[in-house]
Symmetry: C2
Subunit: 275 residues, 2 copies
């Protein structure tokens, strides 16, 4: 294993940049290849069959870049297409579901979990399946809700996140969680951490589980076990080493993408998949 | 010209079904081929370059079905990719911009027009260009606003359209139109007619221009001039003659698509484009 090989990060679009941000925070000495399928985003409402096809094409691309680990930084792909990723990949990979579920099971005190995500993620019941694999299902109650408006609201920017309409929408989506009395909520979509403050206000005292953060922690452990962590450097890194690939540069790309990532994106490459 | 050839209707997804609905209302004796690129929807935020590529692929597909006329039932494609459609098509076509602009210029009394649409549509300034071609621009003031949240709100369904958050969002988007005192608003996206009542309440007295309706009227005229209208039949048609093709059958397809179309969709075909 060449420890200096890059880590591949794949998302349906720019949401995975919020996951990449967590990786850069915890694993600053790694090189990264980020692939966003912005030409076909969003995956959230699309069928499992189509998402599997797109995921395979993206994994093939990352393999061609000789990555040592693939991060499926998209909860929808992680929910409905990990089997397709597994079939096409001989490279180890980490999805968004397992690390978040493990963190939620550690966090809950009353065993009442909530999950929010896209329609595809929630319809797949992937979180429920993973909870039964990792936890004692008979004692755990699960409430799940698809929140399709959260992604476009976050992409509209900070003014809209602070707008009274966003609070009304969030109150509508989250009212069942208040009734159920959950104490832990899995944020099952890469865009949702940007609603952290609003969600905490509506669900006070509820632990909010950020999939990006927990998958980055999971990657440290996996790379260490593989003996594949990049060498630490003495210098303070000026900026992270990331190559960006997108299947489209959308109209509002340079407004939204750096906001999700937390720093500017330089010279992204425009590529085609599935040709 | 074989008058019994079908009319091809192309949209990025299911929004064009609201346009098809208007065609079926005004031209009930025609056969239709509907193509929705649901595997890559929405186009609204994507770049002009990518939208042109997708539009060409869709036009090729409709040409392979031997259509007599192509309806570009997508305001985003009509705004940024009509030149690409023109290059790949020897079949006459009608977009969404020209018929709506002509109707708006007829409707306005005070020459203050408003336009709402996706980010791509508004950024293209296609409506402004067409207004200068058809009208006396020096006397016409134009206010335009991208409304990216309207499509996901409409797709969430009638309960959300009636939700107080939707009114707050609409008031935020439309406030400049009140300040400007427009008397005519072009609904520059196929989903917006479903917000008709709310928009009328927020902008009382303002004429709302539905692109689907006016493009259907334009098609009657064009087909009549071509001598290509389908023969009228004496029987009451039990149901319209439409073949449906989609690049994905999304998770909520059977909830949302019939609502936009106004009647059920039977046996849609699942196809791939751009392979």
């Amino acid at each position: 294993m060449n420890n200096e090989k890059p880590i591949g990060v794949f998302d349906s679009g720019i949401g995975g940049l919020s996951v990449l941000k967590q990786f850069v925070r915890f694993l600053p000495f790694e090189k990264y290849i980020y692939l966003g399928d912005t030409g076909r985003v969003p995956y959230g409402n699309k069928s499992a069959e189509t998402i599997k096809r797109y995921a395979k094409e993206s994994v093939e691309f990352l393999k061609s870049k000789d990555v040592k680990l693939i991060i499926i930084a998209c909860n929808t792909v992680s929910s409905v297409a990990l089997d397709a990723v597994e079939q096409s990949s001989n490279v180890p990979f980490i999805g968004m579901i397992h690390p978040a579920v493990a963190a939620a099971l550690r966090a809950t005190q009353n065993n009442k979990l909530g999950i929010i995500g896209t329609r595809g993620t929630i319809a797949s019941k992937a979180y429920n399946t993973t909870i039964s694999q990792l936890g004692n299902t008979s004692s755990i109650s699960i409430t799940a809700r698809a929140c399709p408006l959260f992604v476009p609201l976050v992409e509209e920017g900070p003014d809209w996140i602070a707008h009274p309409s966003t609070r009304l929408i969030a109150e509508e989506y989250l009212k069942d969680f208040l009734v159920e009395g959950i104490d832990t909520l899995i944020l099952g979509c890469t865009h949702y951490p940007f609603l952290h403050q609003l969600l905490s206000e509506i669900l006070p005292g509820v632990a909010l589980i950020d999939s990006g953060e927990h998958s980055a922690v999971g990657a440290i452990k996996l790379l260490a076990e593989m003996g594949a962590l990049a060498a630490e450097k003495n210098e303070f890194l000026k900026k992270p080493d990331i190559d960006f690939f997108f299947t489209d540069i959308p109209v509002n790309f340079y407004d939204t993408a750096p906001r999700l990532l937390g720093f500017p994106i330089e010279s992204p490459h425009r590529i085609n998949l599935g040709q």
